[in-house]
C-alpha cells in the first residue's frame, strides 16, 4: 500500500484549520501533533497480533490499531500515524525524550513504571496474564487439574515464581523444568518432556500456531498473574493523556452500545442518548478534548469498536484465535469497562 505523506499532511492541515482554535485548542502535544500532521507511535518490534508488519509492510495488530484510532480521532485518517518500532529496553527513554507521542507497545502497567518513570498509563487494551498450554490428550481442562505436572518454563523470569506460588497456594505437587530460551522450552514441551508450558497467555496462543499440530493443544482458561497491557504517554500533558484515554474508552463504549464500523451510519440516527453523546450528535465532548465532535465517529468508522479490533487482530478473525476471556465486556463477565461519556 502506498502512503502519500504529502496528502496526509494536507489532510491534517485541513482538519487543523476546520477545528475552532478558540475553545479547547488542546495541550502542547496535540498542537505539535496537529502541526506535523501525524501521530508518532511507539510499537513493539514484532509481537504476534499486537504489532507486526504484514506482507505489504504495513503494521497491524491491536496495539497498532490503538494508534490508528488515535489518528482517526485527531485527523479523521487512520494513515496519519507513523510507527516507531521499539525494543523493550529503549521504549521508556524514547517516550520520555519525545521520540514518540505515545507508547502502545504491550507494556505491563505496574506501580513502579507509573510512579517512578514519569509515565501515565491511559487504560488497558489487553488483560494478559500467565497461562498454561497442555496437550488435549492429557484430558486436563483447568489449571486446577495440574497437580503432579511437570512444568516447562524459562529461567530467570517471574513466570517461575508465579508457578511456585500458584501450586503452593493450592497444595499441589509439581516439578519445574526451566530452560534458557523459549524455543528450547517449547520443544521440550512438544516432545513430551513436560506436561505443560507456561508463559503469558497471549504468547501461548502465538506459540501454539508454530507447533506441528496446533489443534492437539489446549490453552487453559485460567491466568495466574496480572499483566494488564496498555498505552502510555508522558506525564505533564493532561489533555493528551485524556485524548489517548478516551480514544480507548470510546471503542469500548461503542462495543457496549452495539455501535460498529458496519452500522455506524444507522447509529448516527439513533435516539439512544448514550449513543448520541458518543457519536457527537449531542453535546460537545470532542471539542472539550480539542478535537472535532465527530471524533468517535471517525474512530469507529475507520478502525472499529473494541470487539472488532480484538477479533481482527488476536481473536476469532485472526490466526491466533485468542478467546475474549478477561477481555470481554464487563456485562459479559469480563474486565473491559469504560466510564460513560456524559
Amino acid at each position: 500500500m502506498t502512503r502519500h505523506w504529502n496528502s496526509l499532511a494536507f489532510a491534517g492541515f485541513a482538519v487543523l484549520s476546520l477545528t475552532s482554535p478558540a475553545i479547547g485548542a488542546g495541550g502542547p502535544t496535540l498542537q505539535q501533533v496537529k502541526a506535523k500532521g501525524f501521530v508518532q507511535c511507539g510499537v513493539s518490534d514484532g509481537l504476534q497480533g499486537f504489532s507486526n508488519p504484514d506482507d505489504a509492510g504495513n503494521w497491524s495488530g491491536i496495539d497498532v490499531d490503538v494508534c490508528r484510532a488515535l489518528a482517526a480521532a485527531i485527523f479523521g485518517d487512520t494513515n496519519a500515524v507513523r510507527f516507531t518500532p521499539m525494543t523493550a529496553k529503549e521504549r521508556f527513554t524514547g517516550l520520555q525524550h519525545g521520540e514518540v507521542d505515545l507508547l502502545s507497545r504491550n507494556t505491563t502497567i505496574t506501580m513502579q513504571r507509573d510512579v517512578a518513570l514519569n509515565l501515565e498509563f491511559t487504560g488497558v487494551t489487553y488483560y494478559d496474564g500467565q497461562g498454561f498450554i497442555v496437550k488435549k490428550e492429557s484430558g486436563v481442562t483447568s489449571a486446577n487439574d495440574l497437580g503432579g505436572a511437570t512444568v516447562c518454563t524459562q529461567t530467570g523470569t517471574t513466570t517461575e515464581l508465579n508457578v511456585a506460588d500458584f501450586f503452593r497456594v493450592r497444595g499441589l505437587e509439581y516439578k519445574i523444568v526451566a530452560f534458557d530460551k523459549e524455543a528450547q522450552a517449547v520443544e521440550a514441551y512438544e516432545q513430551g518432556r513436560c506436561d505443560t508450558y507456561t508463559t503469558d497467555q497471549s504468547g501461548l496462543f502465538a506459540i501454539r500456531l508454530k507447533l506441528a499440530n496446533p489443534d492437539a493443544h489446549l490453552i487453559l482458561p485460567e491466568i495466574i498473574s496480572k499483566e494488564p497491557l496498555g498505552p502510555a504517554v508522558r506525564q505533564g500533558d493532561d489533555n493528551w493523556e485524556d485524548i489517548v484515554r478516551w480514544t480507548l474508552y470510546a471503542m469500548v463504549n461503542a462495543e457496549e452500545l452495539g455501535v460498529s464500523s458496519s452500522n455506524i451510519d444507522e447509529m448516527l440516527k439513533s435516539e439512544n442518548p448514550e449513543i448520541r453523546r458518543l457519536l457527537g450528535v449531542e453535546g460537545s465532548f470532542g471539542e472539550s478534548l480539542g478535537l472535532s465532535n465527530d471524533w468517535a465517529v471517525n474512530i469507529i468508522r475507520r478502525v472499529g469498536n473494541y470487539g472488532e479490533i480484538f477479533d481482527r487482530n488476536v481473536g476469532a478473525g485472526s490466526p491466533l484465535k485468542i478467546e475474549r476471556g478477561y477481555n470481554k465486556l464487563w456485562k459479559e463477565g469480563g474486565l473491559q469497562y469504560a466510564p460513560p461519556i456524559r
Binding site: R3, G46, G49, N52, T87, T93, L320
Partner: protein, 362 residues
Amino acid sequence: MEGRRPAISVLEWLRVNLFSSVGDTALTLGGALIVWFLLVPALDWAFVRAVWTGDDRTACIVKDAGACWPYIGARMGQIVYGFYDVAQRWRVDLIYALGALGLLWLTLPFMPYKRVAGVLMLSAYPVLAYVLLTGGMFGIDPVPTQRWGGLLLTLIVSATGIIVSMPVGILLALGRQSDMPVFRWTCTAFIELVRGVPLITFLFMASNMLPLFLPEGAAVDKLLRALIAVALFSSAYMAEVVRGGLQAIPRGQYEASKALGLSYWPMMGLIILPQALRIVIPGIVNSFIALFKDTSLVSIIGFFDLLGIIQSGNSDPNWAAPNTAFTGFVFAGAVYWAFCFSMSRYSQAMERRLGAGTKRGQ
C-alpha cells in the same frame, strides 16, 4: 598455477587423491558419511520437502513440510527495501544499480580510469545516495530513516563503516605512531577506549543515552547516531590493523625515504602506506567482514536490518508455522554468506594482483 597435468583416468585420480593410504581412505569415508548425514537432510529440507507456493501459513503447515519458501517470496520486498514506500523504491533501485556499476568498475582489473571511479564512488556516490534515499529535496518525497530497512540498511551501515573507517583508521594509526605526544596520546586513548567497549554498548549509548545529554528538540536522527557509532567503532579496529602493517615495514624504508629528501606526508603516502596496506589486506578484509555481520546489532536499537526484518516477519501470525522462522534464518544466513564470501574472494584476487612483484606468502 602450474601447467596442465597429463590426463589420468577417473579411477586413478580416485586412488591417488582419495584412497592412497589406509588413513586417507578412512578420512574419505568419514567425510562422505558426514556429507551424507548433514547435506542430504539439508537438501531434502530445502528442496525436496520444501513448500514452494502459497499465500499464507496454511500452505506451510502441511505434515512433514520442509522450508517455507513462499514466506520469503511474500517478504522479499521488505527484505530488500525494508519499509521504504513501495512507490519510492525506484530510488533504492537506482542507488543499488549505481553502486553495483561502480563496484564492478573498481573491481574488474581491465577497466580504465580507476582513479576517477574511486573518487566518484567515495564522493559523489554517497552524497547522491543520501539525497535520493532521504528525499525532501529537489521535489522528491522525504522518506524518514525509520522506514529504511532490510538489505538496504545492512548495506548502508556496513558501507558507511567501511568507507569511513579506512581513512580515519589510517590517520589514527599514523597518529598513534606520531612523534607529537598530545596527538599520540589522543589517538591511543581513542583507540583503546573504543576497543575496550562492545559495539552493543556503543549503539545503546548512541540511541538511548546521547539524547539525554542533548538539549530538548536538538534530536539528531537515530540512524545517523547509529552510523556514527559504527563508523567510530570500526575506525578504532582499522587503526590497529593498519598499525600492524606500519610496524612490519623495515626501518630502512623510512630512512631511505628520508634520504631521498621526502617529508612526512610524501614519505607515508608514496613509500610506507602502499607497502603497509598491502601487507594487511587480509586483516582489513577480515575487519570488513566482521563489520558486515556486526551490522545486525542495529536491530537491538529498533532498526530492521536484513536479520531484523526477517525476525520481525516471524511475528506475523499470518505466517506462523513450525518452519517459517527457521526458513527465514536460513535465508538470512545464505545472504550474509554470499556477501562475505564475495568480499573474501575479491580480497584474495587483489592480494594476488598487488603481490605479483613480491612472492611473499604465495
